[in-house]
């Protein structure tokens, strides 16, 4: 058993309905889930899911509604009974557990945060946070101490004696998070935990989660339908479609190499990509270095350090794009080269500029492939600006106008 694997999902199926045997048989024969629904009336929730979740990672399961992601997460703690297959947690098959074992596992190893918060309205904030400990029979003093500690972690200690309905949505979900943390679980299951919150609070909560994760590494399984969220917090992402897990990988892997049209469609998203070109979204917020004859690598490095940037875009006095340099590359050149140092020696040759007329889909592989924002040039070779991964994603999800400003800011910070 691999030490690094916390949860292992093996050939997992869930069929809802009355005619499960026949539906499973038809699945074996390779029938489509729509056909199965028509013939048997049963609904295939999850089929042939097979993946591992590593210890300490944030694993995002992403898909549209009806893709089976909520069913999937509920099979990890057996709130939904799998029809076939196994879920191994620390090598133990939870599908074979007795009720007692299952209750014990849920109390000791995992907790869950819900989209609807699911706080008990008749309990105070601190009693809610202590709920898991109370179920486990912890004495009152101990569970209140731990609950207060957990509330403190999410910044809600002053509200301990309030009732949930007196708090805002974001605060309520912090209580939900504190309830999950109070039992000190190895595994945190988060079912669209931030989806009901408005965008600003959502980002705040994502940061909160990342902060908590930096302190204590838990295995987090995060369900989301939001690509932005998945990219932002996920160490790895599994994409689900129609009950099937179509791809598992790091955000970069998936961005770079989408497994099929469905995954690609995700990145096409709401789809500004057909309309917007690279020239439309490029921002001129990166550091430019004007390569006059007198400029040497040291001056370029100085300029990058002064602006606190990793990458600089070298242009001539006519703004014609010449090349891309990195602070690391420049440093290396200065340290290790004994002959005369020229800026051109530090150019990162792998990155070639994209034309302003290119569509977003055209530049996607290039944006994904390199850590540096992709330089964009016009027909005459003039530098227009650059596109970072974040800017790219933000553009895809630019449903709300206020996020555009935000996107620019992220690009300035660099990826």
């Amino acid at each position: 058993m691999d030490q690094n694997i916390k949860i292992s999902v093996k050939n997992l199926y869930k069929v809802f309905g009355t005619n499960i045997k026949q539906a499973m048989k038809m699945l074996d024969q390779g029938h489509d889930k729509d056909v199965i629904h028509e013939k048997t009336g049963s609904t295939v929730g999850v089929q042939a899911a097979d993946f591992d979740i590593r210890t300490g990672e944030i694993f995002v399961i992403m898909g549209l509604s009806g893709s089976g992601k909520s069913t999937m997460v509920r099979m990890l703690n057996r709130l939904i009974e799998p029809t076939a297959g196994q879920v191994l947690i620390d090598g133990e098959d939870i599908t074979a557990m007795t009720d007692d074992q299952l209750v014990k596992m849920r109390r000791k190893k995992m907790s869950m945060v819900f989209q609807s918060f699911a706080l008990m309205p008749h309990l105070t904030v601190v009693q809610n946070a202590a709920f898991g400990l109370e179920l486990d029979g912890a004495d009152k003093q101990m569970r209140e101490d731990r609950a207060l500690e957990a509330l403190d972690q999410v910044g809600l200690a002053p509200y301990a004696q309030s009732f949930p309905k007196e708090l805002s949505g974001g605060m309520q979900q912090r209580v939900g998070l504190a309830r999950g943390l109070a039992v000190d679980p190895d595994i945190l299951l988060m079912d669209e935990a931030f989806s009901a919150l408005d965008p600003l609070i959502r980002t705040e909560m994502q940061d909160e989660l990342l902060k908590l994760q930096a302190k204590v590494k838990r295995t987090v399984v995060f369900i989301s339908h939001d690509l932005d969220e998945a990219m932002r917090i996920g160490d790895r992402i599994a994409i689900m479609e129609g009950g099937r897990v179509v791809q598992v990988g790091t955000p970069e892997e998936i961005l770079q190499n989408p497994a099929d049209d469905y995954v690609r469609a995700f990145f096409r998203g709401v789809d500004p990509t057909n309309i917007l070109t690279a020239g439309d979204i490029a921002t001129d917020s990166q550091v430019t270095i004007i390569a006059t004859d007198g400029k040497n690598p040291r001056a370029a490095l100085q300029r990058l350090i002064k602006n606190d940037r990793e990458y600089g875009y070298v242009i001539d006095s006519e703004r014609k794009y010449l090349g891309l340099v990195s602070a690391d590359g420049l440093r290396e050149l200065i340290d290790h080269s004994d002959r005369e140092q020229r800026l051109t020696d530090a150019y990162i040759n792998e990155v070639s500029p994209a034309p302003a007329s290119a569509s977003m889909q055209d530049i996607l592989p290039e944006v994904a492939a390199h850590p540096s924002p992709l330089p964009i040039i016009d027909d005459n070779g003039k530098y227009l600006g650059a596109i970072s991964k974040n800017l790219f994603l933000k553009t895809l999800h630019r449903n709300q106008p206020e996020e555009t400003a935000d996107a620019d800011q992220v690009a300035v910070e660099g990826v």
């Binding site: 703690n77 609807s116 699911a118 709920f131 898991g132």
Partner: protein, 279 residues
């Protein structure tokens, strides 16, 4: 055509029922008399309590309860109502009625809340229970008064038994409704944190169903009060007595004051228990 002739009775259901009840009376009378014991005990205890307590204490108790749970207005109304009932010469009957109603409601809760919880948690149980509750609510009490008297003989205890049959459905239905109204996400959350089925019931379903259960209790209480007169027909004491007597001897005045006392008592008890439910 024999089967289209409705002049004759083809199915003698009436005599079957008759024979069945007679058979029960002959063979199981001891059993039914045994059922009476706990009701008799609680009734006697309560009756003794309310009739031996000085009226001032009883009035104070109810007034304070009204004040605590329902506010000043209801407290004043309670005070005046009890004095009026006392001056009408119905104090003892009123106390007996309170004892009867309280013990009926107690047994209704004892039977009805568990039944309601079971029907709230199981669809099958609810399907089975529903026609029984429908029958209990729609059969006119006069229909089951006779078998009740045959099995349990006449008296206040039989009156309470008839009252229980009549007043049980609301508490069962409203308990079941309260349990069913608990958001499934809350139950899911409890389960996700490792709650056993008993813990889900004790820590989530029952506390959240409490307002509905209290409403059921209030309804049951009101129905128990409305049975007071009918119970008096089979020998139960209390405020039903003056009404029945008044009816039998055409003493309109006597029936009226009995009726007035019942209405006042109903209003007082309703306001107090509603106030308690809101807590």
């Amino acid at each position: 055509m024999k089967y289209l002739n409705f002049e004759e009775q083809l199915i003698p259901l009436d005599s079957w029922v008759q024979n069945f009840v007679n058979w029960l009376v002959i063979n199981y009378r001891d059993f039914f008399q045994g059922i009476k014991i706990p009701i008799e005990l609680s009734l006697q205890g309560l009756e003794w309590f309310f009739t031996t307590l000085p009226p001032v204490v009883v009035i104070l108790l109810f007034t304070i309860a009204a004040w605590r749970f329902a506010g000043k207005g209801v407290a004043i109304f309670t005070l005046l109502s009890f004095f009026l009932v006392g001056y009408l010469g119905l104090w003892r009957d009123t106390m007996i009625t309170i004892a009867m109603v309280v013990s009926s409601v107690f047994f209704c809760a004892l039977i009805g809340i568990p039944l309601g919880i079971m029907s709230g948690r199981s669809d099958r149980f609810q399907t089975l229970l529903r026609p029984c509750l429908d029958a209990m609510q729609t059969i006119p009490p006069f229909v089951y008064l006779v078998p009740v008297v045959m099995l349990f003989s006449i008296g206040t205890v039989s009156g309470i038994l008839a009252t229980i049959v009549f007043a049980l459905p609301p508490i069962v239905r409203l308990t079941s409704l309260g349990i069913r109204q608990v958001h499934p996400e809350l139950i899911e959350a409890a389960l996700a944190f490792g709650a056993t089925s008993g813990q889900v019931l004790r820590k989530v379903q029952v506390p959240l169903a409490m307002p509905s259960i209290m409403a059921g209790l209030n309804q049951t209480l009101m129905m128990a009060l409305s049975m007071v007169v009918i119970a008096a027909l089979i020998g139960a004491g209390g405020l039903g007595n003056p009404v029945v007597q008044g009816l039998n001897s055409l003493q309109i005045g006597l029936a009226s004051i009995g009726g007035l006392a019942i209405v006042l008592l109903a209003m007082v008890l309703d306001r107090i228990t509603q106030g308690m439910a809101k807590r």
